[in-house]
Symmetry: C2
Subunit: 329 residues, 2 copies
Amino acid sequence: MSGDHGLRVTVPAALHALQANPRLYLYLVGDEPAIQAELSRHPCDTLASRFEILHAPYALAHDASLAQVLRGTPDSSMHQGLALVAETRAHALVSAGPTAALLALGRQVLQMLPGFKRPAFCSAMPVRQGHSYMLDLGANVDCSAEQLHDFARMGSALVCSLHGIERPRVGLLSNGQEDSKGNAIIREAAQRLQLDSRLHYTGYIEGNEIHQGELDVIVCDGLLGNISLKSAEGTATLARELIAEQVRSTRWSQLLGLFAAPLLRRLSESLEGERHGGAFLLGLQGLVVKSHGGAGIQGFAAAILQATRCLEQQMLPRMAHYLDNQEVI
Amino acid sequence: MSGDHGLRVTVPAALHALQANPRLYLYLVGDEPAIQAELSRHPCDTLASRFEILHAPYALAHDASLAQVLRGTPDSSMHQGLALVAETRAHALVSAGPTAALLALGRQVLQMLPGFKRPAFCSAMPVRQGHSYMLDLGANVDCSAEQLHDFARMGSALVCSLHGIERPRVGLLSNGQEDSKGNAIIREAAQRLQLDSRLHYTGYIEGNEIHQGELDVIVCDGLLGNISLKSAEGTATLARELIAEQVRSTRWSQLLGLFAAPLLRRLSESLEGERHGGAFLLGLQGLVVKSHGGAGIQGFAAAILQATRCLEQQMLPRMAHYLDNQEVI
């Protein structure tokens, strides 16, 4: 039901994901008549045995208060979807629903991993080579140094589980390289990270270094993470628009643009993240992938397939194993 | 003397700026023998009557402590340069020197504008159309709501003085549009801005909206501003690299790249800011433009010419007039 475009995006995205991965089975959690109506617009007979609809008539409003979310809505599609995961009937939830509601309900229904207090949004950033994961991207506006420390451990476990890197390199987002940079909380977090022998902490990282891909994990509070991610997205969009404008400006460049079109498409996909799928809601006892509210069919399908890949790679059990078996030296 | 490249950049940049603007007169403040040596490598006889060297043998180290900066260094080139402005022998200082030192010495030597407590770095951002100025870009890591309010007023005065916009649109950088977003300080600042009838406050702005150019002034603390600006720069660099890589990948795209080269150069200039010059150190009783430490000849020359244009436009007197003549309705 979720996201800016609702079923018009999520239903065809689900069918697209089913086609792309024959091992996938989906619950479509939402208002059954509306889902049926949208399904009738797409040919999906061959896929019908691989999904079922779970009727949840109520979709959480984008501006629902936390009290509403937590108390009054056991039949909301988000709550039902999380319950499926909590009851191990489903292995993961993919949602483009309201962020604050997903956070609050996720903690309530799935519970936190032992030893962690707050979940964080974590996503792969577009980088030159390899993979850099950044967290928190907006779950927690205010973070203590202890939370930032937790994020470093969760991020390291994620990278190890997905990419087999034993000692992921961890950086702390700040406004300069020197120890004196950052605010009091960032400086305190730096000390904690430095003292934790389980982590491969490499120091502060500046905003312009994120995309160089020299770190595996970049840690920050949710406010900085949100601003950094969205500033990068806005620049990517501007780059695409500037190129498109240049291409339109003369006949000769129109011709050039015709041939350069695939290049430009790849560029914007690389930078703007539609292909990258969603963000993990890390720290919960269950796999939750949050797709961008504004995601299109391709973006939401990418989020579903991302969850599938993570399940195939045993992401959560491996993360738990990593966290349990690290010894403080 | 300043910046990562020292006189190798600043001297040819100064000559370049003198050539570009025949009304410009420059003091080259630094170690005279070293400046003479660098000058001897460039043909500049025709310009010799339009600059003079002011001998200041000591350059502040990048890692000089604030105590060192403020107490022990009246003969540092930065101190001498600021003194020239304070004594009205020069109309502006352009420096690529250490940021913290420039802030501390700037406040000490030039004094703050009446009614303002802390200076802020302010720069024009690359936007789709027009001009958007963002502040603070890194002078103040921790800001109170009152300071953010001051920045909104300083930024509005800047935009009015440079672009003649009577009621510049002001936004506050946050992690969402809703009133509930931001941290406690951002929310308090929003209330202050809303209540100040002198300002045309339009609400929160997200990171991905900065580059759309729909606001004249974007206000944030120096930590968020630094991270946002550098995240955007990093993405622009990545975009340029991705394009260059694509262009190199096949013979056909090499040919394309040959013709697309000017387009790519314009793109990277638009986004990466080398052409944009420096950042204003706003709030002081004197014009100070801070060039990027890593600026090349073109970048440092752009900062000098930016200062020149601002002087020609009477930026500081106009800002003072704007601030003095606003009535709280």
